[in-house]
């Protein structure tokens, strides 16, 4: 007699997720130049790439800051790591800084904080690029680095958006977080020297880049082991 219709139906019901996944592969297979249908990039890969971006951005910004410091800032005026916080443009953002607060942040809040930071820095970096061109003897390496960082920051923004879409299943975000822009020439603190302003800008960006990297790494750590991350 074989299988009755009911049995087939049951089998079909049980196996329908499998059928669905076979017909519609959700994630890319590990094949180079694969011809298989690959609708989207996996979450892990996205997160890895985003972290890779953040790491590079932080490293290059650190190098740029040191270069700038050596070239243009005399010793007594150099900022220590804990001093420049008050003058940063992103101080108005609701982003926690202490370790305990950060640990209590949810994944969603982590991602959104990163996005906020990234978006708020895109414009100032563009501005920094233009001002550096006006310097008399800014080294080419510094200019190139700043340019590269600003480019990658844009890419990072896209990545974080994609990640949010993937992880949090939220709708597409328009990159209009700071349309008004925190970066307004008027609201800048009184800096007589543009050099000092630029230096502060670079230092603040360096700090924020490190923050971004930390958030993202914490996020990754939580993906692997939820309760053992520091």
């Amino acid at each position: 007699m074989g299988m009755t219709v009911i049995q087939r139906g049951v089998w079909g019901l049980l196996l329908w997720p499998y059928i669905l996944t076979v017909s519609m592969p959700l994630d890319c297979k590990e094949e180079p130049g694969s011809l298989t249908r690959c609708p989207s990039i996996s979450q892990e890969k996205l997160l890895d790439r985003v972290i890779h971006h953040a790491e590079l951005i932080y490293r290059v910004s650190e190098e740029s800051c040191s270069l700038f410091e050596e070239m243009f800032i005399p010793l007594p005026l150099r900022l220590q790591s804990n001093q420049a916080g008050f003058a940063c443009i992103t101080k108005t953002l609701p982003i926690p800084s202490s370790k305990s607060e950060i640990e209590q942040m949810s994944d969603k809040w982590l991602l959104h904080s990163v996005l906020m930071l990234v978006q708020s820095w895109i414009e100032p970096l563009v501005y920094l690029q233009t001002t550096l061109d006006h310097y008399d003897h800014a080294p080419e390496m510094l200019v190139n680095k700043t340019k590269w960082v600003s480019e990658k920051l844009v890419s990072l923004e896209q990545g974080v958006v994609a990640l949010i879409k993937k992880m949090l299943d939220e709708g597409t975000f328009t990159t209009t977080y700071n349309e008004q822009g925190l970066f307004q020439y008027d609201t800048l603190p009184d800096m007589l020297e543009s050099v000092m302003r630029d230096y502060t800008l670079l230092s603040c960006f360096k700090k924020d880049a490190h923050k971004m990297e930390t958030f993202l790494k914490l996020l990754k750590c939580r993906q692997a082991d939820k309760y053992n991350c520091a």
Binding site: C28, P32, G33, T36, S40, I41, L46, R49, R59, W148
Partner: protein
């Protein structure tokens, strides 16, 4: 085609064959910031038919877009620059061939830009030979190359991994692999002498696509430079030979000491006491010290001897006592002054010390020297005559002949006391054995002619005590001498009495 040759060079050869519809066969991104895709066009065309290809793509769920750049990548390609490239989304592309009759749509090709990264081929492959003349295996070679576009790898955007392969020219399939390499250089150690073929390729760390192989490099390992080796060899042998010569000479010069060090001489059996070498050298102090252990040994003095003049008066004084006291011939015999000769120089340590004793000793010792009852001894008649000619008187019992001076009756027959002041070799030395009242003198020739000497007179009182002392002292001495027997002659001649005794023993 001419604008961006890198893509053209890297583009793989299209697989031939007929295609009923276009087919995207290859897409790559050199730096994860832009990418290019190539397709096979429609091939079964009727003559004169025109065909255009359009590539459309969509990023995940977004709207379809057309290829932004058909030119840069060459024919049948589509190039996406950095503004159109996103690593966050999957691209799905399709190519449509539009002919007059119908459209042919290719299969959809989806890709993830980060996954299709194929880095550029390394260039400037060079080698440097290091360590000329190293180990027996051969030379070491430092091979280096460069990545053609450093901008791709700056800031760590792309991390490269290299792979190097090399083989001998004569072995076409035996490739040796060096993988993974992080630096654009590598050192190959211990390459045997031969010609090699070297090639290298690279890959982005997160990608699986390898770049094309670089242009092969022919590397030839030359044979070791003999000149250098020869020089070293000559130098080493020269130094070695010089060192050897120095060592040999030093050994030869110090051979004795070395021999003594390694083979110490076995000491000869030595008798405690006399060292013959000492005697040869004539170290008297040493000898005296050794001999002083012997009983009653007195070292001889070779110092100048002062001869005391013995006058007849002195002797005369003493002898009448003897003769007056004794009336018996036997007594007179006993009391006769026996004037001894100086038997041996051994007995004199210092003249002054033994002045009291010497005469006694001489007296006591005379008998063994001067009294030879068993020997026949004819004294020579050639006597120098400061004295009146003595008459020869012969004893009845013995064979001795005596000499007598009839003129000198009461006086001591001093002529018999032939004590000359200075001994001369022609003198005939006689020793007086007996002295009778009548003036008869028993003479006995002294055995050691050179050793008869004068002696100073002595008081009688001292004589007795001295006699007794000397008796004790000389008993051993005499016994020893008597034991010598025939060696008396030699004893007297050689003043090394103990040695004589020892040697005889």
């Amino acid at each position: 085609m001419g604008q961006n040759t890198s893509y053209c060079v890297c583009k793989p050869e299209a697989t031939g064959g007929t295609t009923t519809r276009p087919h995207i066969y290859f897409c790559r991104s050199p730096n994860m910031e832009d990418f290019t895709c190539w397709w096979h066009p429609l091939s079964n065309l009727t003559d004169g038919e025109e065909v255009t290809h359009i590539l459309t793509y969509s990023k995940e769920k977004e709207a379809k877009l057309e290829c932004p750049d058909y030119v840069t990548g060459g024919p049948n390609s589509c190039h996406f620059d950095s503004s159109h490239t996103s690593i966050w989304m999957v691209y799905c592309l399709t190519v449509t061939a539009i002919t007059t009759h119908r459209n042919y749509t290719s299969k959809q090709h989806c890709l993830d830009v980060a996954e299709i990264v194929q880095t550029e081929t390394p260039v400037n492959l060079t080698y440097n030979l290091t360590d000329v003349g190293g180990d027996e295996m051969g030379h070491n070679a430092l091979i280096s190359w460069t990545y053609p576009v450093p901008a791709h790898v700056q800031y760590g955007w792309i991390t490269l991994v290299y792979e190097l392969q090399y083989r001998r020219i004569t072995e076409p399939d035996n490739w040796k692999v060096k993988y993974p390499l992080r630096e654009p250089q590598v050192e190959l150690l211990g390459l045997p002498v031969d010609d090699y073929v070297v090639r290298v390729r690279c890959r982005a760390q997160h990608s699986k696509l390898w770049s094309d192989w670089s242009a092969t490099l022919v590397m030839s390992i030359p044979p070791r430079q003999s000149a250098g080796k020869l020089l070293v060899l000559i130098l080493v042998t020269g130094v070695g030979v010089v060192a050897l010569l120095v060592i040999t000479f030093s050994i030869v010069l110090q051979s004795k000491r070395i021999k003594e060090y390694f083979l110490p001489p076995i000491p000869k059996p030595r008798i405690i006491g006399i060292d013959p070498l000492l005697l040869k050298k004539g170290n008297l102090d040493e000898i005296n010290r050794h001999f002083s252990n012997f009983h009653s040994y007195r070292p001889p003095s070779y110092s100048e001897e002062v001869w005391d003049h013995v006058s007849t008066d002195d002797i005369y004084l003493t002898t009448p006592k003897h003769s007056s006291d004794a009336h018996n011939p036997s007594e007179s015999e006993r009391d006769t002054l026996i004037v001894p000769c100086n038997p041996a120089p051994l007995e004199v340590s210092t003249r002054h010390q033994l002045t009291a004793l010497n005469p006694n000793s001489y007296m006591q010792n005379v008998p063994p020297y001067c009294s030879l009852p068993n020997k026949a001894f004819t004294p020579p008649l050639s006597i120098p005559s400061p004295w009146p000619m003595p008459e020869i008187v012969s004893l009845p019992r013995t064979d001795y002949s005596m000499m007598e001076h009839p003129s000198l009756s009461n006086t001591i027959p001093t002529p018999d006391l032939t004590f000359s002041t200075s001994p001369s070799p022609q003198d005939f030395y006689t020793c007086v054995q007996l002295l009778n009242e009548s003036g008869e003198v028993h003479l006995v020739p002294c055995l050691p002619p050179p050793y008869c000497r004068e002696f100073p007179p002595l008081p009688r009182a001292n004589l007795d005590t001295a006699e007794k002392e000397e008796k004790k002292k000389t008993t051993n001495h005499q016994t020893r001498k008597n034991d010598g027997g025939n060696s008396e002659k030699s004893e007297a001649a050689v003043p090394l009495l103990p040695v004589a005794v020892d040697n005889s023993g």
